[in-house]
């Protein structure tokens, strides 16, 4: 008898973040995938769960002087300084390319004051081709002496509430890991109306050139990302997923399908891939394939059976 290779059984990778359904849980992390187009030659953008673009501010920002990046053990430090084209040029120059894709586009926004965030949310709400907003609250609040919005629950709530009032789009609040109790910030954002939470942003770090005795980054300190931070990110995602009832999006060092599965099992509804895009541009596609293969191997039909399935004694 002839063996006919059966098509692999279909698996359902869809997940839902608020009112938004993604074809799979694998998104690109803000600041690590440009405005999508930069990866078009190497990655099939149509396969992604969502594209989250580089953080956008009201007016263009030039960013920090160089050096801006430095490799560390299994990670990297960056102090880009939130360089971006500003919301108006984003809409006219960057969005049209993205709008032509079937993939949802999530815009990461950042500001120096609550009003900045509110105005950005208002400006972007009316614009076609935007599926959701991701609110980066790791930025310092210039009006409150530079303390990051993401480190004080009340400030996180204020930003979330202001954005919420300005938009009907799903609001994802992106949390900073540089805090004692991330669940307190998470609850504050959830209570203030966030539809979902994403975490983690980078850990604050530093490196020194011992020959010049200067910091390796012109900005002195920068954000640590990459596989090095994965254990911290996973712990925080697990803590937050237990603390809130809205969806959580896991970020931090995700490089392989197995990494993504760890976050999903810990309770994340979706994941974002950041630094891995740099050293392996096809990481997102490999992760999507990895999730599908895992479901098949385990005899599961939907990725939703995996989410939050951590077995504790």
């Amino acid at each position: 008898m002839e063996q006919v290779a059966a098509a692999p059984p279909p698996v359902d990778l869809r997940v839902t973040i608020g009112s938004l359904t993604l074809q799979n849980p694998v998104c690109t992390a803000s600041g690590t995938f440009g405005y999508g187009r930069e990866f078009a030659a190497l990655v099939n953008l149509e396969r992604l769960g969502a594209i989250i673009v580089k953080g956008i501010s009201l007016v263009p920002r030039p960013g920090n002087p160089p050096p801006r990046i430095i490799e560390t053990a299994c990670g990297m430090l960056n102090a880009i300084g939130l360089e971006n084209v500003g919301v108006e040029r984003f809409i006219t120059k960057k969005l049209p390319f993205l709008r032509d894709l079937a993939t949802p586009v999530i815009v990461n926004i950042l500001g120096d004051s609550v009003e900045d965030y509110a105005r950005l949310a208002g400006r972007l709400s009316g614009v076609e081709g935007i599926a959701a907003l991701e609110v980066n609250i790791s930025c310092p609040n210039v009006k409150k002496g530079g303390v990051a919005f993401g480190t004080v629950p009340e400030m996180a709530a204020a930003v979330t509430g202001a954005v919420r009032r300005e938009t009907g789009l799903p609001v994802i609040v992106k949390l900073s890991p540089n805090v004692t109790d991330i669940t307190a910030i998470a609850r504050a954002a959830a209570d203030a109306g966030a539809d979902a939470l994403s975490l983690i942003n980078t850990l604050l770090g530093m490196a020194i050139d011992v020959r010049t005795r200067k910091p390796r980054l012109a900005n002195v300190v920068g954000g640590l990302s990459g596989p090095a931070i994965k254990p911290v990110a996973l712990r925080m995602v697990w803590q937050v997923a237990r603390a809130v009832s809205i969806p959580v999006i896991g970020i931090g060092g995700i490089t392989t399908g197995e990494d993504a599965l760890e976050f999903l099992i810990a309770g994340a509804t979706a994941v974002q891939v950041g630094t891995a895009n740099f050293f392996q541009p096809t990481a997102t596609e490999e992760i999507i394939d990895g999730l599908a293969a895992f479901l098949r191997n385990q005899g599961l039909s939907s990725i939703r059976q995996v989410i939050g399935s951590l077995q504790l004694e």
Binding site: P66, P67, T275
Partner: protein, 261 residues
């Protein structure tokens, strides 16, 4: 603007000095699209340390789908690459960036210092093909010692270029800076292409500026992506703000660059 990712095979490994190596790899799509001055991002090793790809200029391209990179061992990435053997696979992305813009009319003067010589060979090949190599003034090559220069100088000669060399220790050619050799040539040159250490490029840019000679420089910056996405690879621009070396460069006109810092 088409980049490719290829799992290339190493077809040749040459050790030029104690710490300078040349790897020739088979990556036909990248080789076919490459222009002089462009670069590749290479994955060194197979684990997460080193994490980021390493940028290397495209040093040579051959018709049969091969390209070569020439590099010096600096840290752990280049140390691993130096240990890679023929037959092994190397994950390469390229061609990246915007390379030299060969001015249609010569005379062209190529100036390379240390590993900055790497992209100039490909440029020299290209100028020859487009008919601008033979009648040119000497290629100026500088390095610390003769060991680094011998084979490379010979290869430029074999292409048909006159070659002048300079070494820090005086073991080959002019004892001192390769930039010293430029003064005598500037009058007969229309276009200078330079790649090497920053102080050297600054000097050449200055001399060309004063002499009113066009000058293209190939810059370096720490890079995470090489694709214009991370915004990590900036260099101050003369117009204010920053250039992104991986996308707008690595080659710039000298006057676009803020040399003062």
């Amino acid at each position: 603007m088409a980049e490719f990712q290829e799992k290339s095979t190493i077809v040749r490994r040459e050790q030029l000095t104690g710490d300078v190596f040349r790897l020739t790899v088979h990556c036909p799509r990248i080789a076919a699209a490459a222009q002089p001055g462009q670069f590749v991002m290479v994955r060194a090793g197979e684990t997460l340390d080193p994490l980021l790809r390493r940028p290397f200029s495209i040093h040579k391209v051959t018709g049969d789908g091969k390209l070569a990179v020439l590099f010096k061992v600096i840290g752990k990435g280049t140390r691993l690459l130096a240990a890679a053997m023929p037959g092994e696979r190397l994950d390469v992305i390229g061609p990246l960036g915007s390379g030299f813009a060969p001015d249609p009319g010569g005379p062209h003067c190529l100036i390379g210092g240390g590993m900055g010589i790497a992209p100039l060979y490909f440029l020299a090949q290209h100028l020859l093909i487009s008919g601008h190599g033979a009648a040119n003034p000497p290629v100026l090559l500088g390095a610390q010692t003769q060991a680094e220069l011998l084979l490379l100088a010979q290869e430029f000669s074999e292409l048909g270029y006159p070659v002048l060399t300079a070494t820090d220790d005086g073991s080959l050619g002019h004892p001192g800076l390769v930039t010293d050799l430029l003064d005598a040539l500037l009058a007969e040159v229309r276009q200078v292409y330079v790649c090497g250490p920053l102080p050297m490029m600054r000097t050449v840019a200055g001399k060309c500026g004063q002499a009113g000679v066009a000058c293209q420089v190939s810059l370096e910056a720490h890079m995470a992506c090489g694709l214009g996405a991370c915004l990590g690879c900036t260099f101050p621009a003369s117009s204010g703000g920053f250039h992104h070396v991986c996308k707008e460069g690595p080659v710039f006109r000298a006057e676009e660059v803020l040399w003062s810092r």
